[in-house]
Symmetry: C2
Subunit: 450 residues, 2 copies
């Protein structure tokens, strides 16, 4: 069993050894690491130290580590290895890892390496699939066996092929044209009586996905049916690969991050320790969009400057209305965006969802309106002001709740990512509505409150 | 291969058949469904129809569907089945499914059913593990084999045990005291030469997790090492179960939803079509907390009523400062919360993260301050007002950015879920800071602007 190591201590130790040029000791330490940990340690080194390290690591060790890197990590590794060494590494990794590495390279380097690879044609085919499709995330090298094969022949075939064990969990059965017919597990093979054809023991109710469908859909199908792998077929129903649950985990984690980030106008590639310049450049554009909304709201407020001059308590209460409305809108938008992402909410549900949110918005709006109205009465003993605040809060919360469900569904309907909208439109529109409602109502009854 | 069905059409069809009492036809339709789809259709029926359906379904069909339900679904099923029928179902499901069902029952019914079960002792032990621990999510029934066993004897054992294929992906090797020693795949068994002891072909570098550790940690370990299953061991290192990647997918999806919801003050159990009463009750408390912050901010603003009365344009620009600050805080808090969740950020990184966010906040704050100051100069030709707005924006954005990283890390350090904080503290505190800065600066230079 493996004691968990703390990569932080190791990095320090390895950096010292590397700087001292003590590669024998450093490599001995690395040899004891799991490839996933080695990949992490190498990423934490600076560029020069990473280049030195990868220069000294045996090709097969580097090859193993590549399977544990995300796109940024692959790009960093590829940049640290010279082209001839990278070619040697790529010839040792599974096709889909080679494809992922090639995708990170500038076109010229990609072309040169691809041409020099042993499996050029197959990898060129994989490169053609869009990143976000089933074809873009599938692995190749899964075992497919003719369904007419008797179980003992299938076992012999496995013995000969010696597939990596993470490709041999499900064995797919195909007909003479490589069309997917069913699935058997290795366990089924060894418990079946000799002579039984695979077709007799195969599960025929296989959930497969088309090579072109979106990777989120692949993830949802695997998740829905509690599968550990899902086969990918081409338009003719022929098996071209499969996606395993560990890759789906990465897809789902990325998609969740993307949704959370987009809701507040962040780029999904930003990380907590991205360089300052990157962070500034990526957050600024959305803040400028938000600034436009804010000036729109300011223009609305400035229309009411007579009212505000007569009664400055209104200025103090304005942010209460806008804040509560914005909050109600953000809550509903979060539920809508997440429900769309996990498949619980779709465009056809628009009326059912809207009806529900109108009622929830009104109920919460009235409740908050009454509480806030009572509180302000305690503060200022001004019943007209309390009524204006209560009415504006109820209206603002109800409208914001409605926008929170209608806007994401509307964007989904137009084919835009619903998460992109959640804050830009919902809180921007809510601010303006809140000020119009609150200051408009106040202007109507200004004689009674000021 | 399986054509995807659309449960919506089926529900209508099944509801009609059920209402007409045509159970033979309804059951024939259900028999063609995957248990995951059956579970979904049954959940979409109303309580009475669900009870009728489960009354008519064969015990083994109901038992299969249970594996695809989440906690709410299990509770709905359990409520629709009478106790003796439920006992029959529980006797056919794997231990961990029985445990999950029992957890949904009122104490008396749980006790009665547990006492009547075939495997009372084992399930009582599983019930004792906390829901959110490795023990709470693990499956039992995994195959463990003595490491001294030769491969052909191991194959014989598998033939005799006939474990479900989703439990036979990894075979764990143990010593005489059931202590986990290594892992072999079925593929390894069939490619090894007869006579080889399991110890010779087992991978000894096994990543195992303790039964008490948090399920998020289990998920992260499995994800980090791209595993399809991870063994769970007790304090003595003895194998007690394992968790598979499909269960980890559910854990990660739930945790992502929880983080997104908590950031805006939602209860993680709310769904888009939760009953109105539930939605109101769950969203209202957080809105009341937010109302307290808003009144705090209003009290601050009201301190400046002389300033506001002399120059009402300040009231119009107040929300610009607060909105931009709030937005900058929400962006940083989202990155911090998500980075903590996926393991990229920890309390020990507080200085490094804070230093970075101070620089980013100042850069964004100055940029937005300059743009907004210039825009206001275009509007009002008032250089002092522009300077006040620019200064307040720069200060507010920089402070909000800092709060966005410090508050989540502070809560993590105190053992509180960082997501809980993101909006309550960050935007509430930012509003107040923004108003103090903007109106305070304006009050200092009021003679020049009004």
């Amino acid at each position: 069993m493996n004691e968990e190591r703390t990569p932080e201590d190791l990095i320090d130790q390895l950096r010292e050894l590397a700087e001292a040029g003590e590669w024998a000791k450093a490599l001995a330490l690395f040899a004891a690491l799991h490839p996933a940990d080695l990949a992490e340690v190498a990423l934490e080194l600076d560029d020069a130290a990473r280049r030195d390290l990868l220069d000294h690591l045996p090709t097969d060790v580097t090859a193993e580590a590549l399977a544990f890197l995300d796109e940024d990590g692959l790009a960093a590794f590829a940049a640290a290895i010279d082209t001839s060494a990278l070619l040697a590494v790529l010839n040792e990794v599974p096709d889909e890892v080679a494809t992922d590495v090639l995708q990170q390279l500038e076109p010229e380097r990609q072309r040169d390496l691809l041409a020099a690879l042993d499996r050029e044609e197959h990898i060129a085919a994989l490169l053609a699939y869009p990143d976000e499709s089933a074809g873009g995330i599938m692995r190749s090298g899964f075992v497919s066996l003719n369904e007419g094969l008797p179980v003992e022949r299938a076992i012999e075939t496995l013995r000969r092929l010696r597939p990596p064990s993470d490709r041999a969990y499900y064995l797919y059965t195909v007909d003479g044209d490589q069309r997917l017919q069913g699935v058997v597990s290795v366990r089924d093979l060894i418990v079946a009586a000799p002579g039984t054809p695979l077709a007799d023991i195969a599960e025929r109710d296989v959930h497969a996905v088309g090579v072109d469908i979106d990777r989120e859909e692949v993830a949802r199908t695997l998740q829905r049916y509690n599968l550990l792998a899902i086969p990918v077929v081409d338009a003719g129903g022929r098996l071209v690969g499969a996606t395993t649950a560990d890759d789906v985990i990465d897809v789902l984690a990325e998609e969740a991050t993307e949704d959370m980030y987009r809701m507040v106008g962040l780029d999904e590639d930003e990380r907590v320790f991205s360089p300052v310049r990157t962070s500034v450049r990526r957050r600024l554009p959305w803040m400028l969009v938000n600034l436009l909304w804010a000036f729109g709201a300011a223009a609305i407020v400035s229309l009411f400057d007579d009212t505000l001059a007569r009664f400055t308590l209104l200025a103090a209460l304005m942010p209460v209305v806008a804040g509560q409305g914005g909050n109600a809108g953000a809550q509903t938008a979060t539920i809508a965006v997440r429900s769309i992402a996990i498949g619980d909410l779709d465009v056809r549900d628009v009326f059912r969802a809207t009806r529900k949110e109108i009622v929830v918005g009104l109920a919460n709006g009235i409740a908050i309106g009454v509480v806030a109205g009572a509180a302000v009465y305690g503060w200022d003993r001004n019943i007209a002001l309390s009524a204006v605040l209560a009415g504006a809060l109820a209206g603002s919360i109800a409208l914001a709740t409605l926008l929170g469900v209608v806007i994401p569904l509307g964007l989904k309907w137009r084919g835009v990512d619903p998460a992109l909208a959640a804050n830009i439109f919902v809180t921007g529109a809510t601010d303006i509505l809140s000020f119009v409602l609150f200051l408009g109502l106040a202007a109507l009854v200004i004689e009674r409150i000021a």
